[in-house]
Subunit: 542 residues, 2 copies
């Protein structure tokens, strides 16, 4: 192993790539809250390293997006077995302006599966063609989301549904400026949620026209940020979609609607609920890590302990690596084995805590933390070493960093009761960081201006209809979701043991009864929307 280079040639921000490794959209959000307080914490590192900073990548640190050829994402689907076909729609860059730039047209990717579709025509029956079930893509390659949304495939036969998965602009193959899309604010400036929603409306309308399926009802589905988009789409485009299943959609994680510490309190609660020893070990690990990482010798030892492929240069890289493991594992604390972010066993938080609790009481706290994190990164045991500072992003989620610097300002703090080191949040700091990194200032109150959120129960009690907000309380994002019914048709389906958009995953033999029941309810409600739609359409206009 090469000697560690403990003296970075530049005092600029650290790469902090490890935090991006598994990068669920949400991860980055969460990660953003970490650093704010770091200035107040004593630096235990003797090297002139910057304090633990948020995973704000410098532009030049962003990987260039892959070429627009149909590169396959990781996952069970491959060229021969993929259950969808890829298509491209000529999409407008900017729906809300008519400047010369706005009318730029790009290839907007979407996926189709028509295996079970009841097509328009003679055989379509009294109710006409089967519905369109449309996934409102979030911040990554659409094929990855399609691959992890087996629920739609599972229920398509019952409904005779056409499945459509629409990629979010600026992700995957849907990059308006090709390889230059992430170049600067001049290009990335068009990456917004509002444009994405308008894109979806345009694609759906165009697709229905091309298929002769104008009469077919549309239901939108989405998980996480995609779930936010699904619920917002139903609210903003009720004439396009008759209903939305918004799974694990933290639409209330903005402004002061949800307590800022709720996310990390929930992560901590997940671990504490399994074992207070487990919680305590993780809580104790951070200071030990800082202390040992304060010297070059310490970093070398840590690199060995954490089986780093290359000697780590910064203690906070390990910190990020651990942080990611614990946070994401809480999110995907599924009741069955799954391979969404990483390959994991059923109830992985419980498994992590078992691992920690199996150590003798006096064992090294970092050894315990490493063993727990290894469950996340290397459950199958096929990783000879860990890419702690040079991980890559297989799902093309980099654009989220831009979104977290523009619209998606979800303030997060870490309370003293958490198993993570306390941390504050500052709008000003975020703004300065974003300006430094991207030349852009966030509009921190835009999301609640555009989509609402405050007093949502009052606002939507007499407005809107046909939305399911599903949440699993093991998922820390659930705290920013809609957890109570708002009206007779804006429904919250909450499972105590569920995790991040668990309901959208394929059913498996090991599914617990409460999950089977949650999905059954979803099918029943969606069927009700469709039946109502057909009834309404059959009535003569008054």
């Amino acid at each position: 192993m090469a000697a560690p280079d403990a003296r970075p040639s530049s005092a600029g921000p650290p790469p902090a790539r490890s935090l991006l490794l598994p990068l669920l959209l949400v991860l980055l959000l969460a990660a953003y809250s970490l650093p704010a307080d770091s200035a107040a914490r004593p630096s235990s590192n003797s090297n002139p390293r910057p304090a633990f900073t948020p995973p704000l990548l410098k532009r030049h640190q962003l990987r260039r997006p892959s070429s627009s050829s149909a590169e396959l994402v990781a996952g069970p689907a491959n060229a021969s077995t993929k259950p969808f076909t890829a298509h491209y729609f000529p999409q407008l860059l900017d729906h809300f302006a008519f400047t010369p730039n706005a009318s730029t047209v790009f290839r907007h990717k979407y996926l189709l599966n028509d295996t079970f579709w009841r097509r328009p025509g003679a055989g379509a029956g009294d109710d006409g063609p089967g519905p369109l079930f449309v996934y409102t893509g979030n911040e990554g390659d659409i094929e990855w989301f399609a691959t992890n949304t087996g629920f739609m495939f599972d229920i398509a036969p019952t409904f005779g549904a056409l499945l459509v998965f629409i990629e979010h602009q600026f992700y995957g193959e849907s990059k308006p400026f090709g390889n230059d899309s992430y170049r600067s604010a001049e290009t990335l400036g068009y990456l917004t949620s509002t444009q994405a929603l308008a894109d979806f409306a345009v694609v759906i309308r165009g697709l229905k026209r091309d298929l002769g399926a104008e009469a077919a009802p549309v239901v939108v589905f989405g998980g996480s940020y995609g779930g936010m988009l699904a619920s917002w789409f139903r609210l903003k485009y009720p004439h396009v979609a008759i209903g939305a299943l918004a799974s694990s959609a933290p639409i209330l994680q903005f402004d002061h609607i949800t307590p800022w510490s709720s996310f990390y309190d929930a992560v901590s609660q997940d671990f504490k609920s399994e074992s207070s020893n487990c919680f305590g070990v993780i809580r104790a690990a951070w200071d030990v890590l800082d202390e040992r990482g304060a010297t070059d010798k310490g970093l070398l030892d840590l690199s060995k302990l954490f089986r780093a492929c290359k000697t780590v240069k910064y203690a906070y890289s390990i910190r990020n690596w651990l942080w990611t493991a614990f946070t994401y594992t809480a999110m995907v604390d599924y009741p069955t084995p799954a391979n969404f972010l990483e390959n994991l066993p059923a109830y992985p938080v419980k498994e992590m805590c078992k691992t920690i609790d199996a150590f003798p009481a006096g064992a090294d706290v970092l050894e315990k933390a490493f063993a727990a994190a290894s469950l996340y990164y290397n459950y199958t045991g096929d990783q000879a070493c860990n890419k702690i500072e040079d991980g890559d992003d297989p799902h093309g989620l980099d654009g989220w960093q831009w979104q977290a610097c523009t619209e998606m300002i979800m303030p997060m703090t870490i309370s003293n009761e958490s198993m993570f080191p306390p941390s504050a949040f500052s709008y000003d700091d975020r703004s300065d960081e974003c300006f430094q990194s991207w030349g852009v200032r966030p509009r921190p109150h835009w999301i609640t201006t555009e989509y609402g959120g405050y007093k949502i129960d009052k606002v939507l009690k007499r407005f809107g209809s046909n939305i399911i907000f599903s949440n699993g309380m093991r998922d820390p994002w659930s705290r920013g979701g809609v957890l109570k019914n708002i009206s007779s048709s804006i429904i919250a389906l909450v499972t105590e043991k569920g995790a991040h958009h668990l309901d959208l995953r394929s059913s498996t033999k090991g599914d617990p009864d409460w999950l089977i029941e949650q999905r059954r309810q979803e099918v029943e409600i969606i069927q009700g929307w469709i039946d109502q739609y057909h009834q309404d359409m059959a009535e003569t206009s008054s």
Copy 2:
């Protein structure tokens, strides 16, 4: 009088300014439909003049907007008596992008009247502060609309309401690029309805915060295009406004929702309902006009007959001048004297037809048409001559031409049964004309994609709430409005004898009972929204 210059030096499009004279927003829309068929009609003019073309102004023909100083609009309000104060909000140019340009900030004008407002604080009573009644400004100086929306002033005392009138971006004093705002598509490209709605949301939120009135309910009001904006605002921003009064809002005048001939059929019906002779005279006038205007001598005679201040160069200038008079008079066929577009008597269509019918049967058809049109342009008799080819636009409505070339594509045709010459509509022609004039292509189906419209009764039957669509059937725009109740709280209030947003005008002593009743219903419904809001707020969240 100087000899007419019947040989234009250029074969380019005619100025066609006369059509812009009184320019209600809607006028331009209507005017757009006129020319399409003209190519098929025999040209009776021997000069190489372009056929009757739509009032698409060339950029260089657009008057420069007035300076940003507070220039007063015409109307009853003057500096000493204006019932509002002007304010300016630092507004974002583009809410839907984060490009460097998007973050340009401009001075966004709004008006306030707090005379009757029940302010936040001890005296506000159990229900907190009085509501905000917000006018969602349309395509012109906001002071003009405020001056012509006396209904809001009339009802403010009853509600203890704060009155707010927000100017539409790119109109009046709210020009993001000052005098350069209309320079090209680079600047005008940001003039869109979606930006305007977002502007309104931002201003309202900021205003409520600054006034400490977060708890105050907001009701939006608007007439014509402003009414379209009000209804769309309620649909898109239900968390900002609890309800909308959308008066004479032709939100269904797009795509193929409303028959394309309905507007001019309705104008014709207005005149026919008064007198079939009147209808026949106007119907006969167009061919006679073309015939006589085909020679220089004829144009000179016509200039005298129509008392033109300068000899007219094109017969279609007179055609536009007449067209405007008949069309606008139908729109503002109010039951009481009014001075919205021009100073007019009560029931002006009836008066026009009386004028026509008073002529002996054998009189010159153009003399009759001129006399009728003079009622519109010169009811007070103070105009010594008519500015037929060099009229100006006192209300700053020029930007509507841009909107009619981008989003506001309302196809209109003229049927054989109309009193106007038959005319078709072509999307391609409109697109080419717009490209030629502005370098922009319309997005003709965008409005229905963004806001809906097809099957609106089905879509909103179970979605949305608290909108009043008021229409008067004398107003040809009513045909593109919502004329039937959609749900228990999305209500159509239709008066057979009403005209263009008549209900929004100040009450007068001469108001007929049906108008008094319509306004009473509006007040009752709005009071119901506010009461419901306070009830909902008082309930503990479930």
